[in-house]
Point group: C2
Chain length 343, copies 2
Amino acid sequence: MSTLTNRLYRLRSRPVGEVTAENLEWTEEPVPEISEGQALIRTHYLSVDPTNRVWMSEMRSYIPPVELNAVMRGAGVGQVVASMRHDLPVGAHVVGLTGWQDYCVADAAHEDFPFTVLPDPLPAPLPVFVGVLGHTGISAYLGVEFGDPKPGETFFVSAAAGAVGSIAGQLAKRRGARVVGIAGGAEKCRYVVEQLGFDACVDRHADDWKAQLDVATPQGIDVDFENVGGEIMDHVLGRLNIGARITLCGLISEYNDYDGNNAGRGLRNVSQLLMQRATLRGFIVFDHVDRYGEIIGELSQELAQGSMQSEDTVVDGLENARLTLNRSIAGEYRGKVVVRVAD
Amino acid sequence: MSTLTNRLYRLRSRPVGEVTAENLEWTEEPVPEISEGQALIRTHYLSVDPTNRVWMSEMRSYIPPVELNAVMRGAGVGQVVASMRHDLPVGAHVVGLTGWQDYCVADAAHEDFPFTVLPDPLPAPLPVFVGVLGHTGISAYLGVEFGDPKPGETFFVSAAAGAVGSIAGQLAKRRGARVVGIAGGAEKCRYVVEQLGFDACVDRHADDWKAQLDVATPQGIDVDFENVGGEIMDHVLGRLNIGARITLCGLISEYNDYDGNNAGRGLRNVSQLLMQRATLRGFIVFDHVDRYGEIIGELSQELAQGSMQSEDTVVDGLENARLTLNRSIAGEYRGKVVVRVAD
């Protein structure tokens, strides 16, 4: 094994703004030998999630920041290529925190977030297990459940063409809500309405996006599935109906701005949470591991029936992971973003 | 009746910042004759509440703004002095939206917020019925119920020496929580700790108030009873524990800043609502009229037993109401603030 080379990213400094090559060093190291209680996993696809950016900062978060000089943390799917563990047999496909590297040694250090062995034969392509049948799909499912849109209510979702938003809107539509999204650019908006079946989608890049949003939500907003925060969320707060629910899943607009003290622009229109007697609930998917099986089962069925659509954007090459994250946060992609590391 | 003079405030323009004499005109008019279905109420005490300031603005709120040139809306307690209504007999003491005036004609215009006749003989001094046994006490009770502090948890309340905060902290203390407040000035802090029995109180006027707050909440914050917003709330967000509850009762720091578009500084530290999986609930006491009887009963008992303390700041003279509101929002008073209009 020691002849294998591990290409990987190490976090050398904490970025402010976009992640630079100095912040996140791209390097090569020998793959370590495994010993008792360890398995070696070859990463096939790396999941690129805005929350990766949070992990690089010292923002007080749901998980400790990646330590300086450590391998960048990240979720991925891969295959066990060597093993001294019975629960991770050679050949098994697994999903877990592979890190931003070709090869990951799975051992006790992973006990908080253990690897999960995927069914054999695989019921879906590998990227799906970090997407709609992984933490993004489960996040969408939980957030819709928490927001609880009723038939006839208006459900709004930001980053509507993104991995979570695209699934969340489809799930809300199934509950009989009017579903309105916001996404960057006319092409994404078309995708959201024509492919995903949303009732409307506001183009964030249009000068009149606020007016578009007002027109698209003539009855106000009952549920906001929030992925972005900042200016969009502020405008949404001004459209809330009495008793509105906000399911706070992400704040992508803030992640690049954390400088050790403040996290971005924040919100101005907080008073509307009070005036409209809104309930806001922040949630992190990892708190709900006990629900994963049930939710994956339900989402699998939807996919199998063709009643739900998901799309992956696959970027080739681990060496492109850093730029892919920057671009993902800038809203350049559609659907779930993964980096293909190996096949 | 037509020989009587009504001194009153009319809203002539919408204030930005403190309320000026131009915004809120102090004037005299004859008291109108009452006709069938009307009663005339003499205001005895006017309730001065930060929310009065919201009503002067066009901020989207839980109640329409006071119309320009209309009498300023406000809660008060008074006595029926003339009546052509069976439900409001002459001599009865009542609580309701008297407006900022000596005399109020109670008629169909009040049907959304009808006057309530108080028990005879009065079980407590009149100001109490707009205070601890009125909407402020009920707000405190409901907010504590929503926040649901458990024994050993840390309950934090802003504007702790104020009408709502002082009651909220005492109620949370009875549930076995560690209760920490923040108030402006050493004297108020002493009052909060020594008289009201809070475990600690942070002096908002001290340069090191943030450090004081950290020291006073060594186990973090599980429940935030929020009355103020802005910088204080941002710091509190940074102290939240996982699963924290924020009961959003007021945002006093924002009310003066609404300029028709934006409402003040807002919040920067929104990401902590997500990272700590917090739940925030905005509420307005008027939504819970069905609970008033039960809650007033419970609070009455606490007062009668001497197990709860409340304090009123009484400012003499209706002509001082405007300045009293400005000073109340600036945090110059302790406890419930009322203006004595007549005895």
